[in-house]
Symmetry: none
Amino acid sequence: MSTERSETLAGHAVSPPPAQRAQNRLRLAVLDRDPGFMQVLSKRLDALGCEYRPLTAPLGVDALVTMRLNALVLDLAILGPTGWNYLEQVCNRLPGLAVVVCTGPSSVAQRVRGLRLGADAWVTKPCHAEELICVIEAAVRRHRRAEMPALEAAASFGQITIRPDLYQAYVNEVSLELTAREFEILHLLSGSDRVLRREEIYERVWGYAMAHGDRSVDVFVRKLRQKLRAGSPDWSYIHTHFGVGYRFAPERESSVEAELDLITGGQAPELDSALAG
Amino acid sequence: MSTERSETLAGHAVSPPPAQRAQNRLRLAVLDRDPGFMQVLSKRLDALGCEYRPLTAPLGVDALVTMRLNALVLDLAILGPTGWNYLEQVCNRLPGLAVVVCTGPSSVAQRVRGLRLGADAWVTKPCHAEELICVIEAAVRRHRRAEMPALEAAASFGQITIRPDLYQAYVNEVSLELTAREFEILHLLSGSDRVLRREEIYERVWGYAMAHGDRSVDVFVRKLRQKLRAGSPDWSYIHTHFGVGYRFAPERESSVEAELDLITGGQAPELDSALAG
DNA sequence: TTTGCACGTAAAGATCTTGTGACCGAGCCT
DNA sequence: AGGCTCGGTCACAAGATCTTTACGTGCAAA
């Protein structure tokens, strides 16, 4: 297959598809010195695909900021009396960070103090790794509900730019006027390098299984191609794989254009203005 | 609620405190049957000035919605096997509600299950009232961090000025007379430059999940547009994305501009001052 | 080359979304 | 109690979009 993704053609960077997944993955740091605890915990975290950073000494708030964490787990015991101060600082400076205190036996007063200072949860050791992780997730979950608007970034392919935040695709700042469904299909295709079978496309866009003989995907691909061609005539984006499905890949079109492009330096101004008018 | 709404007629600053305070006060319901526990807890809650409602049987989700709670504390033991289901339902339908399970001895598996279903914290009885309250506050605090950026600065878009401190929008110092809901929706939309789906708007303004087929958002957008048009006739602010949702973006309208543009040759810098004056 | 499919294309009809006005109940003030 | 505002629902109409259907075209195997 044409592994040569044509991102270089556009002269734009293509945003990495896994951005979405990275957003949802848990990023956390654990400040603790108990080797057994750390080992058990790290094993479970790895299994969950967390990005996980063990710490043995308190990091400055600025360092924590640059790590872009979702959560911080810390054992107050290893910080001594300064722990309270550190906890307060972290909670104040990083209101969006989930902070879970996981430490040995404590008094009610201590736990109350920790929670009042801004900790989201207090787990007493010894504890089950699974439970601690659930507590972390609960704290992060609640936090995320707020700033979920962390959407995907815009991506460019060939001449078109796909903007998930606006549910629309553009060529030179001009909307292609895609309908919601058209956009979803384009978005799906553009996010995958491989050939997608019709059933796959249907299922992921419509949300349920495709009926046998349904031609809806074909019809939408046609409309998409039509609008893509209208806005970007000398490129082709959606390729048919006979008997299989469709594949997205920006490619330059016919020979005549190609020669003109060489002459005019990759642009055909008359064409653009003609279309724009 | 906002009883002093009509005072804004003058277009002058109005004291917003009552609404603010009501927002900050904790509104919670406790589903439990232990008299001793309830007594101790209610005493502490009263001292803190919480609006507090004891329950001895599970309330329907709809009933909980109308109570406008911040938090729900429940003892799973008194619900029996149906408790898990109830917990799940409540957490799903009211994503903005802090749910704290406070129940007797339990297994790790049970606690994990509860947290996974959406509970924000799990406190084991017997527990100190003070600690439980801290846990509740921690959960609510995290939830609020999202929608309570405290005092936000005023912002202007096109001809309108949005003043979160006054819970009102203005055109040339004149109030648009938005109701609370209307303002909240406008505020939310204006703070995000992407398309917001109805479900998102509903969930962030109403605080719980939107029922399928609910048209409330549409109706309020209509009322908003009406008032915006009344105060700023030749601008449009809220744009419909068919099949998706709404997006806020101040844009001039064509009607008056078109004629002026013809006269002034495509630019109408005076227009701003003319309209502003 | 012929034949059987798969696919491209187009348009009409069905379906879904949205705008809109009227209406009703709850809560609040007088 | 009565009038008011506000929040929320309903039904209808106008559009926009989607699905279905029909037929032409091109691919691939025999």
